[in-house]
Structures are given as C-alpha cells and as structure tokens.
C-alpha cells in the first residue's frame, strides 16, 4: 500500500467499504435463503442463483410494464417489485420442492446434481424469454445519485437502500425463525424430524414452505441486485459459489455467523479489489476461505452440540 497517504487510505477504505456494502447486502440475502434451506434439510440448492435471477427478471419485467402503461407509477413500482419478486421466486421454489426436492431428501449429493440440472433449465428459460443480452430495469430517480459527506467520500444511495432492505429482511427472518410459532416448528423439525412428526408437526409442509421461503428471499436478493448491476441468464451462477462460501464459513446454523461472514467476505473482496485486479481479489478471498475451512471445517460460528 505504498504511494498512498494515510488520509487517502482512509477515504479509499471508506469508499470501497460502502461499495462493499451493496455486495454484502446481496450476498447476505442470498446466503440467508440458502442457509435456511441447508440448515433445515441438509440440501444444497445449486439453482439458488437462478432463483435470484428470477427476482431480478421479475423486477425488470415490472419496470418495463410500469414504464409502458403506468408511467406515473414509476417512482413507486420498485417497492411493489420487491414483493412480487419474493412471491414469484417463492412460488417457483414451492413447485421445485414439490416436483423434485422432496423425493431426494435422504440423498444430499443427488439433490445437488438435480438442482444443478434445474439451474441449467432455468438459465435456458431466461435466455428464451428475455434474450441472451443483459438487461437492467429503469430505476426510480430517488434510487440514483449519491450522498457526499466529505469531498473525497461518495456514498451511493442505492447501496443505502439495499442495506436498509437487507436489514428489514434479516430482522423478518429472525422474527420468523426464532420468535414465531412457525419458526418453532421449523427448528423442531431441524433438530428431530421423527419426534416432530410424532407431536403432530406436518414436517412435509414445513419443508415445502421453508424451501419456498428460502427461494423467495433469493428473489428479494434479485430485486436488490438490479440496483447495482445488470442481469443476464448466467447472473445466478456468478454468485452461487460466493454464497456457498458465506454459508459454510458462517456455520450453516447460525444467523449471526451468516451476517458476519457475508460482511467479511464482501468487504475483503471489495477492499482488495482497489489494490489488485478484481480477479486476483477473488482468488485471494476464496483461497483464504478454503484455507480457513481446512482448519475449521464447521465454520467460524458453529455451536457445539451433543450428537
């Protein structure tokens, strides 16, 4: 880090830190969905990135629709798009669970392959429906521009919005999983499926809704994603590996771990990117993760349980 004065370094860290916040938000939303599904059923959803893309394309579709038919509604559509993205991805997730996943619960490796197949089909569907080119929705004006607290620091508003959205979703997930009756059922099923069945929890229903919820959150991630980058058929695959690393690194069962791990991975990548090329930043981040996991395979925040 030669050649930078200390005040420049502070500004660089601050700027890249804020840039990293957008990445952090998307990674966290993705990871929340993946972790809920993995924690609940031990299933890795390789098509999770595509469920995010569904959310992004839904947002794009809503934007185009609003622009063409209800231009006056443009400043507000985005909020509605987030909700619709959640339900569209969630519904597709529900169907995927019904048609595919539930037949494979005892075979996690096979589920991995089957959901990979699903991801290929979804990618091709995006290509057929929306074309191979990347698309981005017209964003409402209040999402553009930035806030400048000092001359050198420039905080984009979309990043702030996405962070706010992520906070709301995370709190919602926390409430749902740890405070609500439904969350109690989910956690009961996670810990002892047979017993949960015996005390009258419909574990199959719990599974299906959990899977749908995870995919729905990926849909929200997709809506958030449109504010920072454009969407193409293979957008999902770019994020899936990073998301896995967030979940594994954070320890699959810990909400706090997932947040901390999404934050550290996003920030490491974002700050490194300023000093070395983007691809090498990725190599170093992933390499560090693999090395850490070799020494602490249960993740950094896993709790000790009696088995």
């Amino acid at each position: 880090m030669d050649g930078y004065t200390s005040s420049e370094l502070v500004s660089i860290f601050a700027m890249q830190g804020f840039a990293g916040i957008s990445l952090f938000s998307v990674l966290l939303l993705m990871a929340l969905g993946l972790a809920i599904i993995f924690g609940q059923m031990g299933v890795i959803n390789m098509a999770h990135g595509e469920f995010m893309a569904v959310g992004a394309y839904t947002t794009y579709f809503m934007a185009t629709l609003t622009e063409t038919y209800f231009p006056a509604f443009m400043p507000y559509y985005f909020v509605l798009a987030i909700v619709v993205a959640f339900f569209v991805s969630g519904l597709l997730g529900y169907l995927a669970e019904f048609a595919l996943i539930r037949h494979l619960y005892k075979r996690p490796l096979d589920t991995l392959l089957a959901t990979w197949g699903l991801s290929l089909i979804m990618q091709q569907s995006f290509r057929s429906l929306f074309g191979a080119r990347e698309v981005s929705p017209t964003l409402p004006e209040w999402l553009l521009g930035s806030y400048q607290p000092t001359e050198m620091i420039d905080i984009p508003l979309n990043g702030m919005f996405v962070l706010g959205l992520t906070t709301i979703v995370t709190l919602g997930v926390y409430y749902l999983m740890f405070k609500s009756r439904w969350g109690l059922r989910v956690r009961a099923t996670t810990q002892n499926r047979v017993m949960s069945d015996a005390v009258g929890i419909n574990t199959k229903k719990v599974d299906r809704y959990t899977f749908a919820l995870g995919c729905g959150i990926a849909g929200i991630a997709g809506a958030a994603f449109t504010t920072i980058a454009s969407t193409g058929p293979t957008t999902g695959t770019l994020y899936i590996v990073d998301t896995f690393m967030v979940v594994v690194f954070g320890g699959a069962a810990s909400l706090f771990g997932t947040i901390a791990s999404a934050f550290s991975i996003a920030q490491a990548q974002s700050i490194l990117e300023f000093f070395i090329s983007g691809s090498m930043a990725k190599v170093y981040t992933l390499l560090a993760l693999v090395l850490i996991l070799m020494f602490k395979p249960e993740g950094l925040f896993a709790s000790k349980v009696r088995r």
Binding site: S303, K304, V305, R306
Partner: protein, 250 residues
C-alpha cells in the same frame, strides 16, 4: 486409590467429565472394569450411558479426566487406534454393511490388511476363512455366510455386528442395547452368547431390559444425570433406595 498409576483393571475411568456448551453429560465419573467381568450399565434416558461408550471409543472427546485401558491412556487417541488397542463397540442400531454378504462383513472386520496397501494386497486365504467360519458358528450365522446382510432379521443383524467385533478378538467389548428388537428366543440365545464371550475378556453392556440384565450381569452400575448412583450386584442395586427413587419417583 485414584493415585495408582498401574492397576489390574482392564478399564479404569477416573474423574471423567464431558460438557456440551456447559451441560455436563458425564460428570466426574469413576468406573473400573475387571478382566472376565460382564458389567451392565443401566439408567433412565439421558443418563449419559451412550456418551460413556462414545468417550471410551473416542467418538466423543472428554473435557477432562482419564480413561485407561490395560494401563494405556485412551483419551486423545483416534478411533481406529483405540480399536487396534483392543476395544470393540457395537452401536445401538445394528451397524452392519447391508450391501455386503455376511462373509464379506466379517472379512472387512478381520483385523489384517487394515492399511491402504495392506487392503490392496489382502488375500482371502485358508486362515481367514477358518476364522470367519469359527466366528459365524459362534453367532449362529454359519448357514448364512453368502446371504446379503440387509436380508437378515433384526436379531441376526445384532449378532452379526457382535461377530464383527469378535473376529478382532478385543479385550474390551462394549455393546449398546444388544437385545433391542429381539424375540424371546433370540434373547435367550444372546444371553448364552454373551456369557460365553465374556470369558477371557471384559464386556460392558448398556441395556434396558431388566430381566435380561439380571440374567447376564456380574455387576450392575446405575447412571443418573451423568453420575453413578449405585454399583454392585443386581440385587443390591435393585434394593437401593436412591435407585428406586430415580426409577419410580418420577
């Protein structure tokens, strides 16, 4: 007596504690097992019985304390090293290779060719087959050597797992609920089997079926909340007021 470093015991457990996030599943346990002794551990659910077996065979790591087997410290050894030292363990649900035949199950358990290259070079010779036949006879499965293990009855699976341990000729044999799911006749045969195999080695059994315990046990230990409540022969233990309190008081 805790100060003794060398003992005649096959197994001596001293001050053994394990805690999971503060919860002490086994709490300062002291326990001794003699040669030729068949010792049964009983206790209500969650008493820590299976955890004790897990600790001895290395599946769970102790928080503190010592486990000495023939005067060798076991804590800190890896699972396979403990087995090679002469400790065999049967799991609660029969743990056999369902896709292999009875013969192959016993062969995989045969204590030679345990390294990667040893197993590549391993030959199924006369000596191996003789040993397999001898054990199969003992566990009453000599007629079923070529049967796929998945097709055996529940009781036969339990026997097969015992046989897989016997073929290694362990000095300490640990059996977690060996008669669960067995018919009355199978229980009788198992009792006979256990009496026979306890000669020349030590056997530690976890069991719920009191009638069966009374038939096989030389000594009984009652475990409750990770601690020993009572030890002695069956009659003493059954008349111990603390034991009666735990079993009937709730």
């Amino acid at each position: 007596m805790n100060m003794l470093t060398n003992t005649d015991f096959t197994l001596s457990i001293e001050d053994l504690t394990v805690s999971f996030d503060g919860f002490k599943a086994v709490d300062n346990l002291n326990f001794y097992l003699d040669k030729n002794e068949l010792h049964v551990v009983i206790g209500p659910n969650g008493a820590g019985k299976t955890t004790v077996l897990d600790l001895i065979c290395g599946k769970t790591k102790a928080t503190s304390g010592s486990i000495k087997f023939l005067n060798h410290e076991l804590t800190g050894l890896s699972e396979h090293a403990i087995v090679r030292a002469g400790v065999g363990r049967k799991f609660q649900t029969p743990s056999i290779y369902e896709n292999l035949t009875v013969l192959e199950n016993l062969e995989v358990s045969y204590p030679y060719g345990r390294g990667v290259f040893g197993s590549l070079m391993f030959k199924r010779n006369e000596k191996v087959l003789n040993k397999i036949n001898e054990i199969a006879k003992e566990i009453m499965l000599d007629h079923a050597l070529d049967t796929e293990a998945g097709l055996l009855s529940h009781g036969q699976k339990q026997w097969l797992e015992i046989g897989m341990l016997l073929i290694q000729d362990p000095q300490l044999l640990m059996l977690d609920e060996p008669v669960a799911g067995m018919s009355v006749k199978e229980r009788e045969q198992t009792a006979e089997l256990l009496n026979k195999i306890s000669q020349g080695r030590s056997v530690l059994v976890i069991e719920h079926d009191m009638e069966f315990v009374a038939r096989i046990a030389h000594k009984v230990t009652v475990l409750h909340q990770g601690k020993i409540l009572a030890t002695g022969d069956m009659e003493t233990v059954q008349n111990d007021p603390k034991v009666i309190e735990v079993y009937l008081g709730h």
